[in-house]
Protein backbone atom coordinates (compact mmCIF):
# COMPACT_ATOMS: atom_id res chain seq x y z
CA UNK A 1 0.00 0.00 0.00
CA UNK A 2 1.57 3.27 -1.10
CA UNK A 3 1.16 6.03 1.41
CA UNK A 4 0.48 8.63 -1.29
CA UNK A 5 -2.82 6.87 -2.06
CA UNK A 6 -4.20 6.64 1.44
CA UNK A 7 -2.33 8.85 3.89
CA UNK A 8 -4.89 8.35 6.64
CA UNK A 9 -4.94 4.57 6.22
CA UNK A 10 -1.15 4.53 6.31
CA UNK A 11 -0.80 6.78 9.37
CA UNK A 12 -3.51 4.91 11.23
CA UNK A 13 -1.80 1.57 10.80
CA UNK A 14 1.63 3.00 11.50
CA UNK A 15 0.51 4.38 14.87
CA UNK A 16 -1.57 1.27 15.55
CA UNK A 17 1.51 -0.93 15.25
CA UNK A 18 3.54 1.57 17.27
CA UNK A 19 1.01 1.48 20.11
CA UNK A 20 0.84 -2.35 20.04
CA UNK A 21 4.64 -2.46 20.13
CA UNK A 22 4.79 -0.12 23.13
CA UNK A 23 2.07 -1.96 25.05
CA UNK A 24 3.74 -5.32 24.31
CA UNK A 25 7.09 -3.95 25.43
CA UNK A 26 5.61 -2.77 28.73
CA UNK A 27 3.93 -6.14 29.23
CA UNK A 28 7.24 -7.82 28.36
CA UNK A 29 9.11 -6.14 31.21
CA UNK A 30 6.32 -6.49 33.74
CA UNK A 31 5.26 -10.15 33.31
CA UNK A 32 6.42 -12.52 36.06
CA UNK A 33 6.34 -15.69 33.94
CA UNK A 34 9.42 -15.93 31.66
CA UNK A 35 7.44 -17.66 28.89
CA UNK A 36 4.76 -14.95 28.81
CA UNK A 37 7.48 -12.27 28.79
CA UNK A 38 9.25 -13.97 25.89
CA UNK A 39 6.00 -14.14 23.89
CA UNK A 40 5.30 -10.45 24.43
CA UNK A 41 8.81 -9.76 23.18
CA UNK A 42 7.99 -11.79 20.04
CA UNK A 43 4.96 -9.53 19.61
CA UNK A 44 7.21 -6.47 19.83
CA UNK A 45 9.40 -7.99 17.10
CA UNK A 46 6.38 -8.47 14.86
CA UNK A 47 5.22 -4.90 15.31
CA UNK A 48 8.73 -3.61 14.59
CA UNK A 49 8.80 -5.73 11.41
CA UNK A 50 5.46 -4.23 10.38
CA UNK A 51 6.82 -0.72 10.97
CA UNK A 52 9.93 -1.47 8.89
CA UNK A 53 7.79 -2.77 6.03
CA UNK A 54 5.63 0.37 6.17
CA UNK A 55 8.82 2.46 5.92
CA UNK A 56 9.67 0.62 2.64
CA UNK A 57 12.42 -1.41 4.33
CA UNK A 58 10.97 -4.81 3.50
CA UNK A 59 14.30 -6.59 3.72
CA UNK A 60 14.91 -5.39 7.29
CA UNK A 61 11.35 -6.38 8.17
CA UNK A 62 11.78 -9.91 6.78
CA UNK A 63 15.12 -10.35 8.53
CA UNK A 64 13.59 -9.05 11.75
CA UNK A 65 11.01 -11.86 11.61
CA UNK A 66 13.46 -14.49 10.38
CA UNK A 67 16.29 -13.83 12.83
CA UNK A 68 14.62 -12.47 15.95
CA UNK A 69 11.17 -14.05 15.97
CA UNK A 70 12.09 -17.21 14.06
CA UNK A 71 15.46 -18.12 15.53
CA UNK A 72 16.60 -16.15 18.58
CA UNK A 73 13.28 -16.10 20.42
CA UNK A 74 12.72 -19.80 19.67
CA UNK A 75 16.05 -20.58 21.31
CA UNK A 76 15.13 -18.27 24.22
CA UNK A 77 11.85 -20.14 24.68
CA UNK A 78 13.69 -23.44 24.39
CA UNK A 79 16.07 -22.52 27.21
CA UNK A 80 13.34 -21.02 29.39
CA UNK A 81 11.18 -24.13 29.04
CA UNK A 82 14.09 -26.51 29.48
CA UNK A 83 15.14 -24.87 32.73
CA UNK A 84 11.49 -24.17 33.63
CA UNK A 85 12.46 -21.01 35.45
CA UNK A 86 9.98 -20.20 38.15
CA UNK A 87 10.79 -17.23 40.34
CA UNK A 88 12.17 -14.13 38.66
CA UNK A 89 13.86 -13.07 41.91
CA UNK A 90 16.18 -16.08 41.76
CA UNK A 91 17.33 -15.64 38.19
CA UNK A 92 17.38 -11.89 37.67
CA UNK A 93 20.72 -10.19 37.18
CA UNK A 94 19.35 -6.95 38.62
CA UNK A 95 19.16 -7.13 42.42
CA UNK A 96 18.56 -4.25 44.74
CA UNK A 97 17.43 -0.71 44.04
CA UNK A 98 20.68 0.87 42.83
CA UNK A 99 20.94 -1.26 39.64
CA UNK A 100 17.24 -0.64 38.93
CA UNK A 101 17.65 3.13 39.18
CA UNK A 102 20.79 2.97 37.04
CA UNK A 103 18.97 0.91 34.41
CA UNK A 104 16.14 3.43 34.44
CA UNK A 105 18.56 6.32 33.85
CA UNK A 106 20.32 4.47 31.02
CA UNK A 107 16.95 3.79 29.40
CA UNK A 108 15.90 7.44 29.71
CA UNK A 109 19.25 8.56 28.27
CA UNK A 110 18.84 6.26 25.28
CA UNK A 111 15.29 7.50 24.71
CA UNK A 112 16.50 11.12 24.84
CA UNK A 113 19.26 10.28 22.37
CA UNK A 114 16.77 8.72 19.95
CA UNK A 115 14.48 11.75 20.20
CA UNK A 116 17.38 14.16 19.57
CA UNK A 117 18.61 12.09 16.61
CA UNK A 118 15.12 11.99 15.11
CA UNK A 119 15.10 15.81 14.97
CA UNK A 120 18.74 16.32 14.02
CA UNK A 121 19.92 17.33 10.57
CA UNK A 122 22.18 14.68 9.10
CA UNK A 123 25.32 15.59 7.22
CA UNK A 124 25.16 14.53 3.59
CA UNK A 125 28.04 12.05 3.97
CA UNK A 126 26.05 9.86 6.32
CA UNK A 127 22.97 9.41 4.17
CA UNK A 128 22.38 7.62 0.91
CA UNK A 129 20.10 9.06 -1.75
CA UNK A 130 16.56 7.91 -1.13
CA UNK A 131 15.02 5.76 -3.85
CA UNK A 132 11.40 4.71 -3.83
CA UNK A 133 10.63 1.03 -3.35
CA UNK A 134 9.19 0.62 -6.85
CA UNK A 135 12.26 2.17 -8.51
CA UNK A 136 14.67 -0.08 -6.62
CA UNK A 137 12.54 -3.08 -7.30
CA UNK A 138 12.63 -2.88 -11.07
CA UNK A 139 16.45 -2.98 -11.13
CA UNK A 140 18.18 -6.33 -11.61
CA UNK A 141 18.82 -7.91 -8.25
CA UNK A 142 15.66 -6.45 -6.76
CA UNK A 143 15.62 -4.86 -3.34
CA UNK A 144 18.48 -6.91 -1.87
CA UNK A 145 21.15 -5.81 -4.37
CA UNK A 146 21.61 -2.27 -2.89
CA UNK A 147 22.05 -3.76 0.60
CA UNK A 148 24.50 -6.39 -0.70
CA UNK A 149 26.55 -3.74 -2.50
CA UNK A 150 27.02 -1.69 0.65
CA UNK A 151 27.57 -4.68 2.92
CA UNK A 152 29.87 -6.79 0.76
CA UNK A 153 31.76 -4.12 -1.19
CA UNK A 154 31.80 -0.66 0.42
CA UNK A 155 31.85 -1.85 4.05
CA UNK A 156 33.55 -5.21 3.54
CA UNK A 157 36.09 -4.78 6.36
CA UNK A 158 33.42 -4.06 8.96
CA UNK A 159 31.36 -7.00 7.67
CA UNK A 160 34.31 -9.41 7.90
CA UNK A 161 35.21 -8.16 11.38
CA UNK A 162 31.64 -8.75 12.50
CA UNK A 163 31.76 -12.32 11.14
CA UNK A 164 35.05 -12.97 12.95
CA UNK A 165 33.46 -11.64 16.14
CA UNK A 166 30.57 -14.07 15.72
CA UNK A 167 32.99 -16.93 15.04
CA UNK A 168 34.92 -16.08 18.21
CA UNK A 169 31.63 -16.05 20.14
CA UNK A 170 30.75 -19.51 18.78
CA UNK A 171 34.17 -20.90 19.69
CA UNK A 172 33.81 -19.38 23.14
CA UNK A 173 30.35 -20.92 23.61
CA UNK A 174 31.66 -24.34 22.59
CA UNK A 175 34.64 -24.00 24.95
CA UNK A 176 32.40 -23.04 27.88
CA UNK A 177 29.89 -25.75 27.01
CA UNK A 178 32.43 -28.57 26.87
CA UNK A 179 32.71 -30.82 29.86
CA UNK A 180 36.03 -30.62 31.61
CA UNK A 181 37.45 -34.04 32.34
Amino acid sequence: MNNEFFPLFFSFHFYLFAVIALVSAILFVTRKSPVAAALWLVNVMFCLAALYVMLDAQFIGAIQILVYAGAIMVVFLFVVMLLNLGKPEDVSDIRGNLPRVTAGFVGAALLAEVMVLARAKWSAQLTLPVASGDAVRSEPGGIIAPIAEVLLRDQLLAFELASILLLVAIVGAVTIGRKRS
Binding site: L66, V74, M81
Partner: protein
Protein backbone atom coordinates in the same frame (compact mmCIF):
# COMPACT_ATOMS: atom_id res chain seq x y z
CA UNK B 1 7.72 -10.93 -19.48
CA UNK B 2 5.33 -8.74 -21.41
CA UNK B 3 5.33 -5.38 -19.68
CA UNK B 4 3.42 -3.51 -22.39
CA UNK B 5 0.00 -4.34 -21.01
CA UNK B 6 -1.13 -1.84 -18.44
CA UNK B 7 -1.47 -2.65 -14.78
CA UNK B 8 -5.03 -2.42 -13.51
CA UNK B 9 -6.18 0.67 -11.69
CA UNK B 10 -6.64 0.92 -7.95
CA UNK B 11 -10.16 -0.41 -7.39
CA UNK B 12 -9.82 -3.33 -9.82
CA UNK B 13 -6.58 -4.14 -7.97
CA UNK B 14 -8.39 -4.27 -4.62
CA UNK B 15 -11.29 -6.31 -6.00
CA UNK B 16 -9.03 -8.77 -7.81
CA UNK B 17 -6.86 -9.15 -4.71
CA UNK B 18 -9.90 -10.00 -2.60
CA UNK B 19 -11.11 -12.49 -5.24
CA UNK B 20 -7.65 -14.10 -5.39
CA UNK B 21 -7.47 -14.34 -1.61
CA UNK B 22 -10.88 -15.99 -1.39
CA UNK B 23 -10.14 -18.36 -4.27
CA UNK B 24 -6.75 -19.39 -2.88
CA UNK B 25 -8.12 -19.81 0.63
CA UNK B 26 -11.03 -21.97 -0.54
CA UNK B 27 -8.96 -24.11 -2.90
CA UNK B 28 -6.23 -24.48 -0.33
CA UNK B 29 -8.54 -25.52 2.50
CA UNK B 30 -10.36 -28.02 0.32
CA UNK B 31 -7.00 -29.27 -0.93
CA UNK B 32 -5.71 -29.69 2.63
CA UNK B 33 -8.88 -31.54 3.63
CA UNK B 34 -8.55 -33.90 0.69
CA UNK B 35 -4.85 -34.39 1.44
CA UNK B 36 -5.93 -36.10 4.67
CA UNK B 37 -8.15 -38.42 2.63
CA UNK B 38 -5.33 -38.95 0.13
CA UNK B 39 -3.02 -39.93 2.96
CA UNK B 40 -5.44 -42.61 4.14
CA UNK B 41 -6.22 -43.85 0.63
CA UNK B 42 -2.56 -44.00 -0.43
CA UNK B 43 -1.51 -45.68 2.81
CA UNK B 44 -4.22 -48.24 2.17
CA UNK B 45 -2.96 -48.76 -1.37
CA UNK B 46 0.67 -49.12 -0.20
CA UNK B 47 -0.34 -51.57 2.55
CA UNK B 48 -2.65 -53.53 0.21
CA UNK B 49 -5.96 -52.67 1.89
CA UNK B 50 -8.94 -50.52 0.92
CA UNK B 51 -8.70 -47.40 3.07
CA UNK B 52 -11.86 -45.37 3.83
CA UNK B 53 -14.55 -46.32 1.29
CA UNK B 54 -17.88 -46.14 3.19
CA UNK B 55 -18.90 -42.46 3.12
CA UNK B 56 -19.96 -41.42 -0.37
CA UNK B 57 -18.49 -42.76 -3.62
CA UNK B 58 -14.94 -44.07 -3.02
CA UNK B 59 -15.10 -42.55 0.47
CA UNK B 60 -14.98 -39.02 -0.93
CA UNK B 61 -17.21 -37.57 1.81
CA UNK B 62 -15.07 -39.04 4.58
CA UNK B 63 -13.48 -35.60 4.95
CA UNK B 64 -16.85 -34.02 5.77
CA UNK B 65 -17.67 -36.79 8.21
CA UNK B 66 -14.32 -36.31 9.95
CA UNK B 67 -14.85 -32.55 10.17
CA UNK B 68 -18.33 -32.92 11.66
CA UNK B 69 -17.07 -35.57 14.07
CA UNK B 70 -14.22 -33.39 15.29
CA UNK B 71 -16.44 -30.37 15.83
CA UNK B 72 -19.18 -32.35 17.63
CA UNK B 73 -16.80 -34.16 19.97
CA UNK B 74 -16.51 -33.20 23.61
CA UNK B 75 -13.51 -31.02 24.36
CA UNK B 76 -11.66 -31.61 27.56
CA UNK B 77 -9.57 -29.00 29.32
CA UNK B 78 -6.90 -30.80 31.32
CA UNK B 79 -6.10 -29.50 34.79
CA UNK B 80 -3.09 -27.24 35.37
CA UNK B 81 -2.75 -26.05 31.78
CA UNK B 82 -1.82 -22.50 30.88
CA UNK B 83 -5.25 -21.68 29.47
CA UNK B 84 -4.60 -18.75 27.08
CA UNK B 85 -1.63 -20.42 25.45
CA UNK B 86 -3.31 -23.83 25.39
CA UNK B 87 -6.17 -22.37 23.34
CA UNK B 88 -3.94 -20.13 21.23
CA UNK B 89 -1.37 -22.79 20.28
CA UNK B 90 -3.46 -24.70 17.66
CA UNK B 91 -4.26 -21.43 15.90
CA UNK B 92 -0.62 -20.31 15.96
CA UNK B 93 0.38 -23.65 14.46
CA UNK B 94 -2.02 -23.24 11.57
CA UNK B 95 -1.62 -19.59 10.57
CA UNK B 96 2.00 -19.62 9.23
CA UNK B 97 1.27 -22.37 6.70
CA UNK B 98 -1.73 -20.41 5.45
CA UNK B 99 -0.17 -16.97 5.05
CA UNK B 100 2.97 -18.30 3.34
CA UNK B 101 0.77 -18.85 0.27
CA UNK B 102 0.43 -15.11 -0.26
CA UNK B 103 3.68 -14.81 -2.24
CA UNK B 104 3.58 -17.99 -4.35
CA UNK B 105 2.78 -17.27 -8.02
CA UNK B 106 0.38 -19.98 -9.16
CA UNK B 107 -0.40 -19.21 -12.82
CA UNK B 108 0.47 -17.01 -15.77
CA UNK B 109 -0.92 -13.46 -15.53
CA UNK B 110 -4.55 -13.11 -16.54
CA UNK B 111 -5.61 -10.48 -19.09
CA UNK B 112 -8.80 -8.68 -18.14
CA UNK B 113 -10.67 -5.63 -19.32
CA UNK B 114 -8.88 -3.60 -16.62
CA UNK B 115 -5.34 -4.72 -17.53
CA UNK B 116 -2.95 -7.48 -16.55
CA UNK B 117 -3.68 -9.29 -13.27
CA UNK B 118 -0.77 -11.22 -11.77
CA UNK B 119 -1.83 -14.59 -10.45
CA UNK B 120 -0.20 -14.10 -7.06
CA UNK B 121 -1.91 -12.60 -4.03
CA UNK B 122 0.97 -10.31 -3.00
CA UNK B 123 4.02 -10.09 -5.24
CA UNK B 124 6.36 -9.05 -2.44
CA UNK B 125 9.84 -7.89 -3.44
CA UNK B 126 11.33 -9.91 -0.56
CA UNK B 127 9.96 -13.13 -2.04
CA UNK B 128 11.25 -16.26 -0.38
CA UNK B 129 12.71 -14.35 2.57
CA UNK B 130 9.09 -13.78 3.56
CA UNK B 131 8.33 -17.46 3.12
CA UNK B 132 11.21 -18.74 5.23
CA UNK B 133 10.51 -16.03 7.80
CA UNK B 134 6.93 -17.25 8.07
CA UNK B 135 7.96 -20.91 7.99
CA UNK B 136 10.29 -20.30 10.93
CA UNK B 137 7.25 -19.23 12.98
CA UNK B 138 5.56 -22.61 12.61
CA UNK B 139 7.57 -23.88 15.55
CA UNK B 140 5.76 -21.56 18.00
CA UNK B 141 2.47 -23.41 17.80
CA UNK B 142 4.14 -26.73 18.56
CA UNK B 143 6.40 -25.41 21.34
CA UNK B 144 3.59 -23.54 23.05
CA UNK B 145 1.25 -26.52 22.77
CA UNK B 146 3.91 -28.67 24.39
CA UNK B 147 4.68 -26.22 27.16
CA UNK B 148 1.15 -25.12 28.02
CA UNK B 149 -0.12 -28.73 28.30
CA UNK B 150 1.55 -29.23 31.69
CA UNK B 151 2.64 -32.71 30.64
CA UNK B 152 6.24 -33.82 30.50
CA UNK B 153 5.80 -35.85 27.30
CA UNK B 154 4.14 -32.92 25.57
CA UNK B 155 6.95 -30.66 26.78
CA UNK B 156 9.58 -33.08 25.44
CA UNK B 157 7.79 -33.13 22.09
CA UNK B 158 7.75 -29.34 21.99
CA UNK B 159 11.44 -29.10 22.89
CA UNK B 160 12.34 -31.65 20.22
CA UNK B 161 10.32 -29.69 17.67
CA UNK B 162 12.09 -26.43 18.44
CA UNK B 163 15.59 -27.95 18.31
CA UNK B 164 14.81 -29.88 15.12
CA UNK B 165 13.14 -27.07 13.22
CA UNK B 166 15.83 -24.50 14.09
CA UNK B 167 18.55 -26.96 12.99
CA UNK B 168 17.02 -27.81 9.64
CA UNK B 169 16.11 -24.20 8.88
CA UNK B 170 19.83 -23.50 8.47
CA UNK B 171 20.24 -26.15 5.78
CA UNK B 172 17.09 -24.89 4.10
CA UNK B 173 18.48 -21.35 4.06
CA UNK B 174 21.76 -22.57 2.54
CA UNK B 175 19.87 -24.44 -0.20
CA UNK B 176 17.88 -21.27 -0.92
CA UNK B 177 21.09 -19.25 -1.15
CA UNK B 178 22.13 -21.41 -4.13
CA UNK B 179 18.84 -20.49 -5.84
CA UNK B 180 19.51 -16.84 -5.04
CA UNK B 181 22.99 -17.08 -6.59
CA UNK B 182 21.62 -18.49 -9.83
CA UNK B 183 18.54 -16.27 -10.04
CA UNK B 184 20.15 -13.11 -8.70
CA UNK B 185 16.90 -12.16 -6.96
CA UNK B 186 14.69 -13.23 -4.08
CA UNK B 187 11.38 -12.32 -5.70
CA UNK B 188 9.48 -15.52 -6.51
CA UNK B 189 7.98 -14.03 -9.69
CA UNK B 190 11.50 -13.27 -10.95
CA UNK B 191 12.75 -16.74 -9.96
CA UNK B 192 9.95 -18.33 -12.00
CA UNK B 193 10.73 -16.03 -14.95
CA UNK B 194 14.44 -16.89 -14.72
CA UNK B 195 13.65 -20.62 -14.79
CA UNK B 196 11.44 -20.14 -17.83
CA UNK B 197 14.21 -18.24 -19.57
CA UNK B 198 16.92 -20.84 -18.97
CA UNK B 199 16.16 -24.13 -17.29
CA UNK B 200 14.59 -25.40 -14.10
CA UNK B 201 16.71 -25.03 -11.01
CA UNK B 202 16.23 -28.72 -10.22
CA UNK B 203 18.37 -29.54 -13.28
CA UNK B 204 21.28 -27.25 -12.43
CA UNK B 205 20.94 -27.26 -8.63
CA UNK B 206 19.81 -30.82 -7.91
CA UNK B 207 21.69 -31.08 -4.61
CA UNK B 208 20.23 -27.82 -3.33
CA UNK B 209 16.80 -29.10 -4.33
CA UNK B 210 17.40 -32.37 -2.52
CA UNK B 211 18.61 -30.59 0.63
CA UNK B 212 15.59 -28.29 0.50
CA UNK B 213 13.24 -31.25 0.19
CA UNK B 214 14.81 -33.12 3.13
CA UNK B 215 14.74 -29.95 5.27
CA UNK B 216 11.11 -29.43 4.29
CA UNK B 217 10.32 -32.91 5.61
CA UNK B 218 11.98 -31.98 8.90
CA UNK B 219 10.23 -28.58 9.01
CA UNK B 220 6.81 -30.15 8.56
CA UNK B 221 7.57 -32.89 11.13
CA UNK B 222 6.73 -35.63 8.68
CA UNK B 223 8.09 -39.17 8.82
CA UNK B 224 11.04 -39.88 8.92
CA UNK B 225 11.45 -36.70 10.99
CA UNK B 226 8.30 -36.83 13.15
CA UNK B 227 10.21 -36.89 16.43
CA UNK B 228 7.96 -34.29 18.16
CA UNK B 229 5.07 -36.76 18.09
CA UNK B 230 6.95 -40.06 18.19
CA UNK B 231 4.18 -42.21 19.68
CA UNK B 232 6.49 -45.04 20.69
CA UNK B 233 8.39 -42.68 23.01
CA UNK B 234 6.18 -39.67 23.81
CA UNK B 235 2.53 -40.88 23.69
CA UNK B 236 1.50 -38.33 21.05
CA UNK B 237 4.14 -35.71 21.78
CA UNK B 238 3.11 -32.08 21.82
CA UNK B 239 -0.60 -32.72 21.19
CA UNK B 240 -1.08 -35.46 23.82
CA UNK B 241 -3.46 -33.31 25.88
CA UNK B 242 -5.57 -31.95 23.04
CA UNK B 243 -8.99 -33.21 22.05
CA UNK B 244 -11.69 -32.63 19.42
CA UNK B 245 -11.22 -29.70 17.03
CA UNK B 246 -8.22 -28.27 18.91
CA UNK B 247 -6.42 -31.56 18.34
CA UNK B 248 -7.61 -31.61 14.75
CA UNK B 249 -5.93 -28.26 14.09
CA UNK B 250 -2.49 -29.85 14.49
CA UNK B 251 -2.90 -32.51 11.78
CA UNK B 252 -4.58 -29.87 9.59
CA UNK B 253 -1.61 -27.54 10.03
CA UNK B 254 0.75 -30.42 9.25
CA UNK B 255 -1.06 -31.12 5.97
CA UNK B 256 -1.27 -27.40 5.24
CA UNK B 257 2.50 -27.18 5.73
CA UNK B 258 2.97 -30.12 3.37
CA UNK B 259 1.00 -28.42 0.63
CA UNK B 260 2.80 -25.10 1.21
CA UNK B 261 6.31 -26.58 1.16
CA UNK B 262 5.42 -28.61 -1.95
CA UNK B 263 4.31 -25.42 -3.67
CA UNK B 264 7.50 -23.70 -2.52
CA UNK B 265 9.65 -26.52 -3.89
CA UNK B 266 7.79 -26.39 -7.19
CA UNK B 267 8.22 -22.62 -7.41
CA UNK B 268 11.89 -22.57 -6.49
CA UNK B 269 13.18 -25.66 -8.27
CA UNK B 270 10.61 -26.87 -10.81
CA UNK B 271 9.81 -23.66 -12.63
CA UNK B 272 6.59 -22.78 -10.77
CA UNK B 273 3.73 -22.61 -13.25
CA UNK B 274 6.05 -23.17 -16.25
CA UNK B 275 4.93 -25.87 -18.67
CA UNK B 276 8.04 -27.84 -19.71
CA UNK B 277 9.29 -28.32 -23.31
CA UNK B 278 7.31 -25.39 -24.67
CA UNK B 279 7.58 -21.60 -24.80
CA UNK B 280 3.88 -21.25 -25.50
CA UNK B 281 3.01 -20.43 -21.88
CA UNK B 282 5.69 -17.81 -21.17
CA UNK B 283 5.84 -15.84 -24.42
CA UNK B 284 3.43 -13.72 -26.42
CA UNK B 285 0.26 -12.11 -25.13
CA UNK B 286 -1.36 -13.65 -22.09
CA UNK B 287 -4.68 -15.37 -22.56
CA UNK B 288 -7.26 -16.93 -20.27
CA UNK B 289 -6.40 -20.36 -21.68
CA UNK B 290 -2.74 -19.92 -20.75
CA UNK B 291 -3.67 -18.90 -17.20
CA UNK B 292 -5.83 -22.00 -16.79
CA UNK B 293 -3.25 -24.34 -18.35
CA UNK B 294 -0.39 -22.98 -16.24
CA UNK B 295 -2.50 -23.21 -13.10
CA UNK B 296 -3.20 -26.85 -13.98
CA UNK B 297 0.52 -27.46 -14.41
CA UNK B 298 1.31 -25.82 -11.07
CA UNK B 299 -1.39 -27.84 -9.32
CA UNK B 300 -0.17 -31.08 -10.92
CA UNK B 301 3.42 -30.50 -9.77
CA UNK B 302 2.31 -29.56 -6.25
CA UNK B 303 0.01 -32.58 -5.99
CA UNK B 304 2.86 -34.83 -7.09
CA UNK B 305 5.01 -33.60 -4.21
CA UNK B 306 2.17 -33.99 -1.73
CA UNK B 307 1.94 -37.57 -2.98
CA UNK B 308 5.71 -37.86 -2.55
CA UNK B 309 5.39 -36.81 1.11
CA UNK B 310 2.77 -39.50 1.68
CA UNK B 311 4.76 -42.09 -0.26
CA UNK B 312 7.85 -41.46 1.91
CA UNK B 313 5.78 -41.65 5.09
CA UNK B 314 4.57 -45.16 4.30
CA UNK B 315 7.99 -46.32 3.08
CA UNK B 316 10.61 -45.16 5.57
CA UNK B 317 10.90 -45.81 9.31
CA UNK B 318 11.44 -43.02 11.82
CA UNK B 319 14.92 -41.77 12.74
CA UNK B 320 16.29 -41.92 16.25
CA UNK B 321 16.59 -38.45 17.75
CA UNK B 322 20.41 -38.38 17.84
CA UNK B 323 20.53 -39.65 14.24
CA UNK B 324 18.25 -36.81 13.22
CA UNK B 325 20.49 -34.23 14.88
CA UNK B 326 23.71 -35.68 13.45
CA UNK B 327 22.12 -35.87 10.00
CA UNK B 328 21.19 -32.20 10.22
CA UNK B 329 24.41 -30.81 11.66
CA UNK B 330 27.12 -33.25 10.56
CA UNK B 331 25.91 -34.33 7.12
CA UNK B 332 23.42 -31.92 5.57
CA UNK B 333 24.88 -28.63 6.77
CA UNK B 334 28.47 -29.44 5.61
CA UNK B 335 27.14 -30.67 2.26
CA UNK B 336 25.12 -27.48 1.89
CA UNK B 337 28.12 -25.29 2.76
CA UNK B 338 30.49 -27.11 0.38
CA UNK B 339 27.88 -27.01 -2.37
CA UNK B 340 27.34 -23.29 -1.82
CA UNK B 341 31.09 -22.67 -2.21
CA UNK B 342 31.23 -24.80 -5.39
CA UNK B 343 28.22 -23.06 -6.93
CA UNK B 344 29.43 -19.55 -6.14
CA UNK B 345 32.93 -20.38 -7.44
CA UNK B 346 31.43 -21.77 -10.65
CA UNK B 347 29.25 -18.70 -11.16
CA UNK B 348 32.19 -16.34 -10.55
CA UNK B 349 34.35 -18.36 -12.97
CA UNK B 350 31.63 -18.35 -15.66
CA UNK B 351 31.08 -14.61 -15.21
CA UNK B 352 34.82 -13.96 -15.53
CA UNK B 353 34.88 -16.06 -18.70
CA UNK B 354 32.23 -13.69 -20.00
CA UNK B 355 29.59 -16.33 -20.62
CA UNK B 356 26.74 -14.40 -19.02
CA UNK B 357 23.52 -16.28 -18.40
CA UNK B 358 23.15 -17.88 -21.81
CA UNK B 359 22.83 -21.53 -22.88
CA UNK B 360 26.56 -22.17 -22.22
CA UNK B 361 26.00 -21.14 -18.62
CA UNK B 362 23.18 -23.67 -18.37
CA UNK B 363 25.25 -26.49 -19.90
CA UNK B 364 28.25 -25.70 -17.68
CA UNK B 365 26.13 -25.61 -14.53
CA UNK B 366 24.31 -28.78 -15.59
CA UNK B 367 27.62 -30.60 -16.15
CA UNK B 368 28.96 -29.39 -12.81
CA UNK B 369 25.74 -30.54 -11.17
CA UNK B 370 26.14 -34.01 -12.69
CA UNK B 371 29.72 -34.26 -11.36
CA UNK B 372 28.60 -33.09 -7.90
CA UNK B 373 25.73 -35.60 -7.88
CA UNK B 374 28.02 -38.52 -8.78
CA UNK B 375 30.54 -37.52 -6.08
CA UNK B 376 27.78 -37.09 -3.50
CA UNK B 377 26.23 -40.47 -4.31
CA UNK B 378 29.64 -42.18 -4.09
CA UNK B 379 30.39 -40.49 -0.73
CA UNK B 380 26.99 -41.17 0.82
CA UNK B 381 26.84 -44.71 -0.59
CA UNK B 382 30.03 -45.83 1.23
CA UNK B 383 30.44 -48.85 -1.05
CA UNK B 384 27.01 -50.39 -0.50
CA UNK B 385 25.33 -50.15 -3.91
CA UNK B 386 27.87 -48.77 -6.33
CA UNK B 387 30.66 -51.18 -5.36
CA UNK B 388 29.12 -53.58 -2.83
CA UNK B 389 31.20 -55.84 -0.62
CA UNK B 390 30.06 -58.89 -2.67
CA UNK B 391 31.78 -57.34 -5.70
CA UNK B 392 35.15 -57.53 -3.99
CA UNK B 393 34.88 -61.28 -3.18
CA UNK B 394 36.53 -63.95 -5.29
CA UNK B 395 34.03 -65.55 -7.73
CA UNK B 396 34.31 -69.03 -6.18
CA UNK B 397 33.59 -67.53 -2.74
CA UNK B 398 30.37 -65.94 -4.04
CA UNK B 399 29.39 -69.27 -5.61
CA UNK B 400 30.03 -71.08 -2.30
CA UNK B 401 27.83 -68.56 -0.41
CA UNK B 402 25.07 -69.00 -2.98
CA UNK B 403 25.12 -72.78 -2.59
CA UNK B 404 24.94 -72.53 1.20
CA UNK B 405 21.80 -70.38 1.24
CA UNK B 406 19.39 -71.44 -1.50
CA UNK B 407 16.12 -69.56 -1.94
CA UNK B 408 13.73 -71.01 0.62
CA UNK B 409 10.79 -69.67 2.54
CA UNK B 410 12.29 -70.62 5.89
CA UNK B 411 15.78 -71.26 7.13
CA UNK B 412 17.00 -74.77 7.88
CA UNK B 413 17.47 -75.47 11.64
CA UNK B 414 21.28 -75.52 11.41
CA UNK B 415 21.27 -72.08 9.72
CA UNK B 416 19.47 -70.40 12.63
CA UNK B 417 21.95 -68.93 15.04
Amino acid sequence: MDQTQLDPGFWPFVIFTVIKMLAIFTLYMVGVAYTTLAERKISGWIQDRHGPNRVGPWGLFQVLADGVKNIMKEESMPGGVNKPLFILAPAIAFVPALIAWAVIPFAAPLPTAWGRVDMVVADLPIGFLYTIGIASLGVYGIVLAGWSSNNKYALLGGLRASAQMVSYEITMGMALLCVLLVSGNVSLTDIVAQQQGSTWNAIILSIAGFLFLVSAFAETNRVPFDMPEAESELIAGYHSEYSAMKFSMFPISEYANMVTTSAMFVTLFLGGWDIPFTDWDSTGPYTVGKAIATFGMFAAKTIFFVFFYIWVRWTLPRFRYDQLMSLGWKVMLPIALIYLVIISAAIVALDMAGLGRGPVFGYAMGGLNLVCLVVLVLVLDRGRLVSPASGRLAPDEVERLRRRAPMRATLAPEEIR
